[in-house]
Every structure is written in structure tokens, then in C-alpha cells.
């Protein structure tokens, strides 16, 4: 087997080699299948799909944003980041179809805002918006995808929408 190459060599017994080969095979096959047929739910064997999508040279670039009307009557940009409100823009983008189906999920954004940034003015209305930028003409179109009037803005309670609701 060629494992014993000197006094300082330590070979593994057959069973230790055996389980290592099985683990290697399982990890390599699963991670390959994850990319070839799996989805994000397979993590840590999920598809290595960051930047894997294609954007047409004459296509549009979508940028999702969230705006809010505060109880002070001011319209502000909701700071979608882990440092500020505690959830990232990319995470909201991933849940955008859910939010369009269940705008009540924006109630939970208001709850998160009160928990994380209690010194800021509370949100009365929240809008989920998409900005489409044409790569060629550089013109921008803003679309409102969902609107939610926050229930009890100063002391909002979670929506209670089930995790598996689509």
C-alpha cells in the first residue's frame, strides 16, 4: 500500500481508511449533486450559484429597495443591512415573492426596526420597491411591489405568518 515509508510514518488501520473513503465519496458526490440538481436548501451542499445567473447585455438591472413613511410624516429609506435593521437587502430580495404574496410580512420589518433601532421614528407605512435600470439607456423605472400599513406603529407585534407560507 505504500503507506509505511519510514520510522516516522503512521498508517491508518483498514477501518479508519474505510470510513474516510466513504466520507470523501459522500461529500464529493453530494456537493456535486447540490450544484447540478440541488437548491439553496441543500446548504452546505447548495449550488455554488453566486453570480451564476446570466444578465443580457441589453437587459435590465433590478435593485430592490424598501421605503417607509414614519409616524413623523417623513419618507425614509429602510436601512436594509445587518449592521442597521438586522436583515440584508439580499435576504429581502430572496423573500420578495413571499412579501408580494403576503404583504403582512412587512409588519415583521416594522417589528425588527423597533427592536433594533428604537431611537428612530417608527414606521407607519412600508413599501417594497424595485428599481429597473436599463443597461443600454441607463434609464430607471421604479415599481412598487407591496405596501403595508403597520398595525400599531409605536408598538408593533409580529405578524405570526407561518415560516412555510409562500
Amino acid at each position: 500500500m505504500g503507506a509505511m515509508t519510514g520510522a516516522g510514518s503512521r498508517s491508518l488501520p483498514w477501518y479508519a481508511v474505510g470510513w474516510r473513503l466513504v466520507v470523501t465519496f459522500a461529500v464529493v458526490v453530494t456537493v456535486a449533486l447540490g450544484t447540478l440538481v440541488g437548491n439553496d436548501g441543500w446548504w452546505p451542499f447548495a449550488p455554488m450559484s453566486q453570480y451564476a445567473f446570466s444578465v443580457k447585455n441589453d437587459g435590465v438591472i433590478n435593485s430592490l429597495t424598501m421605503d417607509a413613511l414614519t409616524v413623523d410624516g417623513e419618507v425614509v429609506r429602510v436601512p436594509l443591512s445587518k449592521e442597521k435593521i438586522g436583515i440584508e437587502r439580499s435576504e429581502i430580495e430572496g423573500q420578495a415573492p413571499r412579501i408580494v404574496n403576503n404583504p403582512g410580512l412587512l409588519q415583521d420589518v416594522a417589528v425588527l426596526h423597533r427592536r433594533r433601532l428604537p431611537d428612530e421614528a417608527a414606521y407607519r407605512t412600508i413599501w417594497l420597491r424595485n428599481t429597473q435600470r436599463d443597461i443600454r439607456t441607463r434609464s430607471e423605472t421604479v415599481l412598487t411591489l407591496a405596501t403595508w400599513n403597520v398595525v400599531d406603529p409605536l408598538d408593533p407585534q409580529p405578524s405570526g405568518i407561518p415560516q412555510d407560507a409562500r
Binding site: M1, A3, T5, G8, S9, R10, S11, L12, A16, V17, R20, L21, T24, V27, V31, A32, G34, T35, L36, D40, G41, W42, W43, P44, A46, P47, M48, S49, Q50, Y51, A52, F53, S54, V55, K56, N57, G59, I61, S63, K82, E83, I85, G86, I87, E88, S90, E91, E93, G94, Q95, L105, D108, V111, L112, R116, R133, I135, P158, Q163, A165
Partner: protein
């Protein structure tokens, strides 16, 4: 079968594992305190926005709460610190691995999954299997060490190669001629990024370069010497350029590339530095009580040479 065994579990110095632990476990601190910091704020997110992952359901990991994520952070920091010092390598290592599985899967359980942590997760689960390893074990070669190192290498090249396959699956064979890089540069402009983004031909050339390099990445497992170092330098440059243009660094993957290097040689560098400072001390002996350091120095040299 023997060829497969020597490829997947080559006899490599235990010292390489010891040095890799000194890189990977301190990196865990950097990771949880600076890179993947989402789990702490996620503890405040109402559960309706929690999407979960299969691995979390399988292992019974709950939706994160305010206290849970803070306790988990302490567990990870303590276990990785213990493992970094080479103490309780199996127990501390496995606690750190499971803790990081919980931590990173928490970060990805809200509809945004990154793929930069695969090799690091592999490293955290295989490093404890080696057991005790010292940086002095330069000439103690072990299959257990070889397998762990090889798994980290396989984890790293898997990310590159499967990234290319994912581009074919999701972006199609025309991916390299598309505007994905322009899209990224528009959303995350940084440094020379906007200038690059205004030259479509350049972005296409960069996309082709990346795609071909990713497809060819498994070759790293067979490269040796200067060819290996050149390939590693290419990938280091690639990650540096994505950071300069997009502020995307992929550090959890970059640290795993150290598994390709003969880290065990760091021990002789350390000994040379110590030997030089000891010689300087002898030339200019300190005043006061005479301390005989001859006993310590030859011992260190002897151990390195004989082990």
C-alpha cells in the same frame, strides 16, 4: 485501490495540520466577529422571516433567538481558542465545527445563501479527526493528517469547479458573454470597478478568464512546486481583484488555500529566527545572573532534526 488511498490519504507531516489549525481556528474568530455577523441581529428577526435549511431541521437547530445566538457565539469563541492552542483537539475541534455549522447556517437561513464557506466547514469537521499534532512533528508523517489536508484541498477546488458548473446550469453556456459582472459592478461599485464596468469587452474577457480558471481548478490537486505556487498566486490575485472592485473577498475560501502549502517548513523558519536571536544574545550577554540557555537550544534543534 492503493493509488486511490495514497491520493486521498497521502502521508503528510502532522506539523502541517498543527500549523493549519493555527490559521483556521483564529480565522473563526475573524469570521464570527467581522465577516458572518448576521446571526446576532437575526436573533431579533421575527420567526416568520426565518426560512430555515434542511441541515438545521435535521439537527434540530431552532429558529434563532436573542439569547441563543449570544450563547452560541461564546461557545464558538471559546472552543476555537482552545483548539487554536492545540488543546483538546478532538473535543474543542468538534464543538467548534458544530457551533460554526449552527452559526453559518443561521446566517443563510433567511433566503440568502453564499457559497464561500464550504471548504471552511469541511476543514472544521476534518481537522479534529487527526488528534494531537505539534508544529514540531515535521518528520512524523501520517495518513490521518494527509486525509484531513486533502479534504480541505478538495473542498477548496470544489467551490471553484462547481461555481463554473453552476454558471452553466443557471446562466447557460453564454454566461461569459453576458453582463453579470457589469450587474455586480453596478450594484457594488468600488475602486476601479465603475471604470471596468464601462468597458464591456474587458468584462467579457474577465468573465472568460474566471470561467476557464474555475473549470480547471481541480488540477490544483495534482500540481507541485512552482506550478502550484503560480496557480495559488493566480487565485490570490483573483480574490484581491474582486475585493478591490466589488468588496467581495471570499476569505473563508482563501484561508483554506493554505492547505496546499508546505506549512511544516514554518517550523524551521521559526527555529532559525530563534537561533539567530540566541546567537546575538550570546555575543552580548546580559548583565546579572548567568543563565545557561544551551540546554534549551540544542533540544529544540535536536527534536526538529530527529522527529
Amino acid at each position: 485501490m492503493n493509488a486511490l488511498r495514497s491520493f486521498l490519504a497521502p502521508t503528510l507531516p502532522l506539523a502541517r495540520v498543527a500549523w493549519l489549525r493555527r490559521i483556521i481556528y483564529p480565522f473563526v474568530w475573524l469570521d464570527v466577529l467581522w465577516i458572518v455577523t448576521d446571526p446576532i441581529p437575526h436573533g431579533d428577526v421575527p420567526p416568520s422571516l426565518y426560512r430555515g435549511l434542511a441541515v438545521r431541521s435535521l439537527l434540530g437547530m431552532p429558529a434563532p433567538s436573542h439569547t441563543y445566538v449570544r450563547v452560541l457565539l461564546v461557545v464558538i469563541l471559546v472552543s476555537s481558542a482552545v483548539a487554536a492552542f492545540g488543546k483538546l483537539p478532538r473535543l474543542a475541534g468538534f464543538v467548534c465545527a458544530v457551533g460554526m455549522l449552527d452559526w453559518v447556517s443561521n446566517a443563510f437561513a433567511y433566503s440568502k445563501v453564499d457559497h464561500d464557506h464550504f471548504a471552511l466547514m469541511v476543514a472544521l469537521f476534518v481537522l479534529p479527526t487527526v488528534g494531537r499534532a505539534s508544529t514540531r512533528d515535521v518528520d512524523v508523517r501520517s495518513e490521518a493528517a494527509g486525509w484531513a489536508i486533502r479534504m480541505v484541498q478538495i473542498g477548496a477546488v470544489s467551490i471553484y469547479a462547481l461555481s463554473a458548473w453552476a454558471k452553466m446550469r443557471f446562466g447557460g453556456w453564454g454566461w461569459a458573454n453576458g453582463a453579470t459582472l457589469i450587474w455586480a459592478l453596478t450594484r457594488r461599485p468600488n475602486g476601479i470597478g465603475p471604470w471596468v464596468g464601462s468597458h464591456p469587452a474587458l468584462t467579457h474577457a474577465l468573465q472568460w478568464t474566471v470561467l476557464i480558471a474555475e473549470f480547471c481548478a481541480p488540477i490544483l490537486l495534482w500540481l507541485k512546486g512552482r506550478a502550484l505556487y503560480a496557480a495559488l498566486l493566480f487565485w490570490a490575485g483573483f480574490h484581491l481583484s474582486t475585493y478591490v472592485m466589488l468588496k467581495i473577498h471570499f476569505l473563508p475560501l482563501v484561508v483554506c488555500l493554505f492547505a496546499f502549502l508546505p506549512l511544516e517548513r514554518l517550523g524551521s523558519v521559526r527555529d532559525r529566527v530563534r537561533g539567530r536571536s540566541a546567537r546575538l544574545e550570546r555575543r552580548d550577554p546580559p548583565r546579572g545572573p548567568v543563565v545557561d540557555d544551551r540546554a534549551a537550544l540544542p533540544a529544540a534543534g535536536h527534536q526538529t532534526g530527529a522527529s
